[in-house]
């Protein structure tokens, strides 16, 4: 895979993740929704990235359910 291709993929991932987070956090208004609609329609790669991020999110609900990772320790490192 060329560097260009990696760069484009990363950019699409970022855009998809940004949209996803906007929806999740309830920060989407009507104008945002229209912008999302046009983004998701402008390339099949966009829809694919969005649905993949969504699948990751769903699976991510099973991550660290036993709370092995300590957030306070992480925050003190940050």
């Amino acid at each position: 895979m060329s560097h260009d291709r990696i760069r484009i993929n990363t950019q699409i991932s970022e855009e998809a993740a940004e949209w996803f987070v906007e929806f999740r956090t309830g920060d989407m208004d009507a104008a945002g929704r229209r912008a999302f609609d046009s983004w998701v329609r402008s390339s099949p790669e966009h829809l694919r990235a969005y649905l993949e991020i969504a699948a990751i999110w769903n699976e991510g609900g099973s991550l660290d359910v036993h709370k092995e990772l300590n957030v306070d320790a992480l925050i003190s490192l940050a």
Partner: protein, 174 residues
């Protein structure tokens, strides 16, 4: 701010994960050219993303196939009226390589989770903490911003970073 907005997409995302394969199987005998199927699957999900009130839908499975039937019917009418152009053929060829995926099914489910877990543990501390607080612990972005001493905007950026890192790994192992 519309609190239903995220539910809207969550609904479609769940359907895509659950029924992507069924939908392709459903559409295959309903089109002349199987190369059109990924295009139609895409159209079904795009339409679902546009439905304003998903909470009024009582039977999502029936609903998705009703839309699919409608999309297939419209597609047949369009195909009869205008023969496909070369551009469209090119686009469909591209689509067939793009939409024919069930991300969660391509990699073994256990391995998939293992990869995500591995990525999670390697994330920068603030990004890792944000993901855990939001996804695992159910805090709001405002609460996370306060815990981390950053703006809500920055906390959202951390969450985006986590998701991008997850997808990067999943792409690598697929």
């Amino acid at each position: 701010m519309n609190p239903l907005a995220f539910e809207d997409n969550a609904f479609v995302e769940e359907l895509a994960a659950k029924h992507g394969k069924h939908l392709r199987r459903f559409l295959r005998p309903r089109v002349h050219n199987v190369a059109d199927v990924p295009d139609l699957v895409q159209e079904v999900f795009l339409r679902l993303l546009r439905v304003p009130n998903h909470e009024t839908i009582r039977a999502p499975e029936a609903y998705i196939f009703t839309i699919a039937r409608h999309v297939a019917q419209q597609h047949r009418l369009k195909a009869a009226a205008a023969p496909a152009t070369e551009d469209l053929d090119e686009m469909l060829a591209e689509l067939s390589s793009v939409t024919d995926v069930d991300p969660a099914l391509e990699v073994d489910a256990q391995q998939y989770l293992q990869e995500l877990d591995d990525v999670l543990r390697r994330l920068p501390p603030n990004v890792q903490a944000t993901f855990l607080l939001y996804r695992r612990d159910g805090l709001t972005m405002d609460e996370i911003g306060a815990r981390l001493g950053v703006s809500r905007h920055m906390a959202k950026k951390y969450l985006v970073k986590a998701l991008v890192a997850f997808r990067k790994r999943i792409k690598e192992v697929q």
